[in-house]
């Protein structure tokens, strides 16, 4: 187990002058045993950052530390890491058993019989004992994925690196494996770095998320912090599904001018806005309310464009009545409520649930109101839950 520290890490690709910055001055620290998820859209530099930690890529600037050792000059071999690749990268010519023992043979002095024993017990744990004599080509996607995980676990490394390991599985299997990886990481307690572009995976798996965009660190925090206390507009829009709705562009006379309606800012909002002139309001779909008649002066008439029933809830795509553009925003409504296309409602944006962002910098200038401590990680939540019945 180990701590990982990234210190001002920058990675440039290409020649001097016309280089592309893949990772831009990222600093962060992963605690021992932590499950950290790098999340961001494609091209955000999350995979590059992981490959830098793995030693498969060398950073252009900055330091990578495992525990207190600077590992900049060390290859993957010396870093004692195990990695699960998106395409699993199982050795096609070797059996499952050979795949799993390869790392132990290469990186340790372990005697043959001990290797065999370790492989057998790991295979049992992963439920792949009966596949040991098969070649990867004979396995299903889900089985290959298990073998890839087993190959990483059997090494008993300092750090697990997982590069979008679930993206080639079908939806059902993905959900199953998500839970399983969570459980494994929890049981083994190995520091794990997980890369994904899927914000659901990020939310459900990580102790902490590292949100990246264009190679720049956007926010580091627990899933709930990133969800409820987004550092900027990007994080607000990226975390959460469906995405947060954004309205407005500029503030005039303490009123936010939006396409099709106006939104008068409340006192706390005005304080946050201060001198900012160009401001955007963000509200999550589950916080917008649809009423038959206006609740307060900020409510505005909307017309339903599309309804997507999901069962217990429905996503209702609406457009403000007097709106110029074709853009819609989404409202999460009760699934049992009868809502049809072209129906009219009054949309209510509760001021306490709204975020405000500076349009120019994207920075969050006003957070929603909230109670509870969002800095608590899943593990800590679990621990406190374990303790509470007795106390």
């Amino acid at each position: 187990m180990a701590r990982i520290t990234l210190d001002d890490v920058t990675k440039r690709f290409g020649d001097e002058g016309e280089s592309i910055i893949a990772v831009d001055d990222v600093s962060l620290e992963m605690k021992d045993g932590e499950f950290m998820v790098f999340v961001g859209p494609s091209g955000s530099g999350k995979s590059t950052l992981m490959r830098i930690v793995a030693g498969l890529e060398t950073q252009s600037e900055g330091d990578v530390l495992i525990d207190d050792t600077v590992v900049n000059q060390l290859g993957p071999r010396a870093r004692d890491i195990a990695m699960v690749f998106q395409n699993y990268a199982l050795y096609p010519n070797m059996t499952v058993e050979e795949n799993m023992s390869f790392g132990l043979k290469m990186s340790t002095e372990m005697p043959e019989d001990e290797i065999e024993e370790t492989v057998t017990s790991t295979a049992e744990m992963m439920g792949i004992s009966d596949l040991l004599d098969n070649k990867p080509g004979e396995l299903s996607g889900g089985q290959q994925q298990r073998v890839a995980l087993g190959r990483a676990i059997v090494r008993d490394p300092n750090v697990f690196l997982m590069d979008e390991p679930l993206s080639n599985l079908d939806a059902k299997l993905r959900t199953e494996m998500r839970t399983e990886i969570n459980r494994l990481q929890h049981d083994l307690g190995v520091t794990t770095l997980y890369v994904t572009h899927d914000q659901t995976e990020a939310m459900t798996m990580g102790d902490r998320l590292v949100v990246l965009n264009y190679g720049e660190l956007q926010q580091v925090g627990t899933p709930l912090e990133c969800f409820y206390r987004p550092a900027n507009r990007f994080v607000a829009g990226f975390i959460g599904s469906p995405s947060m709705n954004f309205f407005g562009r500029k503030v005039e006379d303490d009123t936010l001018q939006c396409d099709g309606f106006e939104y008068e800012l409340t006192e706390p909002m005005r304080e946050s806005v201060g001198d900012h002139k160009r401001v955007e309001l963000g509200i999550r779909p589950e916080d917008v309310e649809l009423h038959d008649s206006p609740v307060d002066g900020n409510d505005f008439e909307v017309v339903v464009d599309v309804v997507e029933p999901m069962g217990s809830i429905a996503y209702v795509y609406c457009r403000a009545a007097g709106q110029e553009s074709d853009e819609t925003f989404v409202v999460e409504a009760d699934g049992k409520r009868a809502i049809s296309e072209d129906q009219s409602f009054y949309a209510h944006i509760p001021p306490m649930d709204a975020h405000l962002f500076d349009v120019v910098t994207g920075e969050t200038i006003h957070q929603r109101e909230l109670d509870g401590d969002l800095g608590v990680t899943a593990d800590e939540r679990e621990q406190s839950a374990d303790v509470s019945p007795n106390s």
């Binding site: 498969l56 990695m83 690749f85 395409n87 199982l90 050795y91 096609p92 390869f102 790392g103």
Partner: protein, 294 residues
């Protein structure tokens, strides 16, 4: 109601009959076509084999004698004639060595071209291919002069180089495409697992590339084995390849058909043996236990 059922059954039955007839008709046609094609393909081979088994004087009769007493006379003559065995052994050694050498040079070259961003990579590849762009007859005389100058004329080593130069572009191009198809994450996985880059190549990539390597090996073998022109010009006595020896049965006055056929049959043998040995790998195809990134 019962009558309805009966007519329904009858109808059903006749439909089934129709289907059966159609299926058997298709089967007959398919077998007919295959038989016909097999005849086209195998007849020359049969002709050659039968000619090699005919006694002298019968082999070249036209119309041929369809019924004759087979004899291994031609084969015995061949074996007793030391020159044929010498040429056969020459060819086996030279071609075998050239295949090993061309793989030793070509496979790592292809790997480097596939994995590293080299300056002028495209040009290097075209340059390698350009070695085969001129027709052999156009370069054979310059080669003769060069071989004389370098004391390679009529040497086995000279012929090995010649065969390597014939096959190197094939090996590099085919193997580069093959390595391109092997995901780089395999080597990365090996490196993370503690292997050095070289071990990653030898223990993971090369075994994964086996079908490709055996494919280019067999094709290189065949190309070198059947080469005649360079052997004709660049050898005289010491390093005569078996093709040249077979060719020698076509004299200016007469053709020794029986011996020619027997020697040709013997020439087929190594290719068949080689194919049988590597067939497993050729058939293995390209099943890499990895999912290609979409």
């Amino acid at each position: 109601m019962a009558a309805d059922d009966a007519s329904f059954d009858a109808e059903n039955g006749s439909q089934r009959l129709d289907k059966d007839t159609k299926e058997s008709l298709v089967r007959v046609v398919r077998h007919g076509v295959l038989l016909g094609w097999s005849f086209v393909v195998l007849f020359p081979l049969y002709w050659l084999a039968s000619m090699s088994l005919k006694p002298p004087g019968v082999a070249n009769q036209l119309p041929p004698e369809w019924v004759f007493l087979p004899t291994v006379y031609n084969y015995i003559q061949l074996v007793q004639d030391g020159e044929f065995l010498a040429a056969f052994a020459n060819s086996l050694i030279m071609v075998g060595a050239s295949v090993i050498l061309v793989l030793i040079i070509g496979v790592p070259a292809a790997y480097v071209l596939s994995r590293y961003d080299l300056p002028m990579e495209r040009d290097i590849l075209v340059w390698i291919l350009s070695s085969r762009m001129l027709p052999p007859i156009a370069v054979v005389l310059p080669f003769f002069v060069i071989f004389r100058a370098l004391n390679l004329f009529d040497t086995r080593i000279g012929m090995v180089f010649m065969y390597v130069s014939i096959n190197i572009s094939l090996v590099v191009w085919v193997m580069k495409a093959f390595f391109d198809g092997i995901p780089e994450t395999l080597e990365e996985a090996a490196r993370v697992d503690g292997a050095t880059q070289f071990q990653g190549f030898t223990k993971v990539v090369l075994p994964a590339a086996k079908p490709g390597i055996f494919s280019v090996a067999i094709i290189s073998f065949i190309f070198a084995w059947i080469e005649l022109l360079f052997g004709l010009v660049l050898t005289s006595f010491e390093s005569v390849p078996v093709t040249l020896f077979v060719y020698s049965f076509i004299g200016s006055r007469s053709i020794e058909w029986g011996m020619l056929a027997a020697a040709s049959m013997a020439m087929i043998l190594p290719v068949v043996v080689f194919l049988i040995v590597v067939n497993k790998y050729l058939a293995a195809g390209l099943s890499f236990g990895v999912v290609i990134k979409e």
